[in-house]
């Protein structure tokens, strides 16, 4: 199976990347992600050009990464900056470098042609850092192909059966999903009026009776899905369509059968709504 190369992939969350380099495989490409001393994020192939040992087994030294095997160092652009004993190396002795950007609390990597890596193409995860919006972020590792996960997020019919204790509610399976294809983008929505509430809206919004409920989905290939959800007491004043939750997902393939999901559930206002509390494990 082939993956799109000329795309920005969500590689990690900003908070995941500490002082130590992070190893992460994306689209079968083993990568090392590291934060240089100057704060910038760099992504190189995780194979040292010397003996193909993982660079991620080493450490960050200044603005360079030092291989954990023989201590050879590479700069953020992949250039070799130091070899122990000053052993001479050829001009082509460098680590492959991938364009990287850190924005909206996430680190993105471009796997294809560097000249095409336009930062304007990074999908909008703005609610991650929007003032007044709070949420919970999580990285999840799932042993399934990313397209199965995209199918899952774009078909919210399943909430009635898979999420009985949380998201299921009246009207979801019965209301047809309206789908619009706009170039490379897929938009879908399901608008429900005067339906039974769902457990999540009882807990998070104190909505116990009949509700109006809306689901807006937006997908941009290959990995970005924005879900905007909301509900109000049936017929109340809250404008129909007001977002009460935004779920920002990216489904970054690790391999054909494994996926890194970055998911952030955001809501305007405080973070104390029960919907965003992590379930207590007992």
């Amino acid at each position: 199976m082939k993956f799109l190369r000329n795309q920005w992939y969500t590689a990690a969350t900003s908070t995941e990347l500490g002082a130590k380099p992070l190893a992460r495989t994306i689209c079968n490409e083993p990568l090392v992600i590291f934060r240089a001393e100057d704060g910038t994020v760099a992504v190189l192939t995780d194979r040292c050009p010397h003996r193909k040992a993982p660079l991620s087994s080493g450490e960050v030294v200044g603005n360079d990464i030092q291989c954990g095997y023989h201590g050879i160092r590479f700069a953020a652009d992949g250039a070799c900056t130091h070899v122990p004993g000053n052993v001479p190396v050829g001009r082509n002795f460098r680590a492959r470098c991938f364009p990287a950007r850190e924005v909206h609390g996430l680190i993105f990597v471009w796997l294809g042609e560097a000249a095409l890596a336009d930062p304007a193409l990074i999908p909008d995860f703005g609610e991650n850092v929007k003032p007044g919006w709070t949420g919970v972020h999580g990285m999840l590792y799932v042993k399934a192909n990313y397209q199965l996960l995209i199918d899952n997020i774009l078909d919210l019919t399943h909430v009635v059966f898979v999420h009985k204790t949380t998201l299921a509610g009246g009207g979801v399976a019965e209301t047809p999903l309206q789908v619009e294809i706009d170039g490379d983008m897929v938009r879908a929505q399901r608008l429900m009026h005067n339906v039974d509430t769902a457990p999540i809206y009882k807990a998070a919004r104190n909505l116990h009776g009949k509700i109006d409920r809306w689901q807006f989905l937006e997908f941009r290939p290959p990995i970005y899905a924005r879900i905007t959800l909301g509900a109000r007491e049936a017929g109340s004043d809250l404008p129909f369509g007001t977002p009460t939750h935004v779920v920002l997902n990216s489904f970054t393939p690790e391999t054909e059968r494994t996926t890194h999901i970055s998911g952030r559930r955001c809501a305007p206002g405080g973070s104390t709504t029960p919907a965003f509390r992590r379930p207590t494990r007992t």
């Binding site: 399943h158 879908a188 807990a203 998070a204 997908f219 290939p221 939750h245 059968r257 999901i261 992590r278």
Partner: protein, 76 residues
């Protein structure tokens, strides 16, 4: 609660992947009306993969045309 929902999704989709991999029937996945958005997403990804492949083939052809022919007259 949304964390629980994420875990519920992961459980069913991982099981689905295992059963797809072990399915000897060779039958394709079936798309119903409510799968339309997911199907559209798959079609867009497929089209963009084809576009990337065609662009890569064009780049290879272009660079092979530019490559100097060994022994050829430099002024040709």
């Amino acid at each position: 609660m949304t964390d629980l929902a994420f875990a519920e999704d992961a459980r069913i989709v991982e099981a689905q992947q295992r059963l797809i991999d072990s399915d000897p029937s060779g039958l394709p996945l079936v798309s119903l009306a409510f799968d339309r958005a997911g199907l559209a997403a798959r079609r867009i990804i497929k089209r963009k993969l084809e576009e990337e492949e065609q662009a890569a083939v064009r780049a290879v052809n272009a660079s092979s045309q530019r490559a100097p022919v060994r022994g050829a007259d430099a002024t040709a």
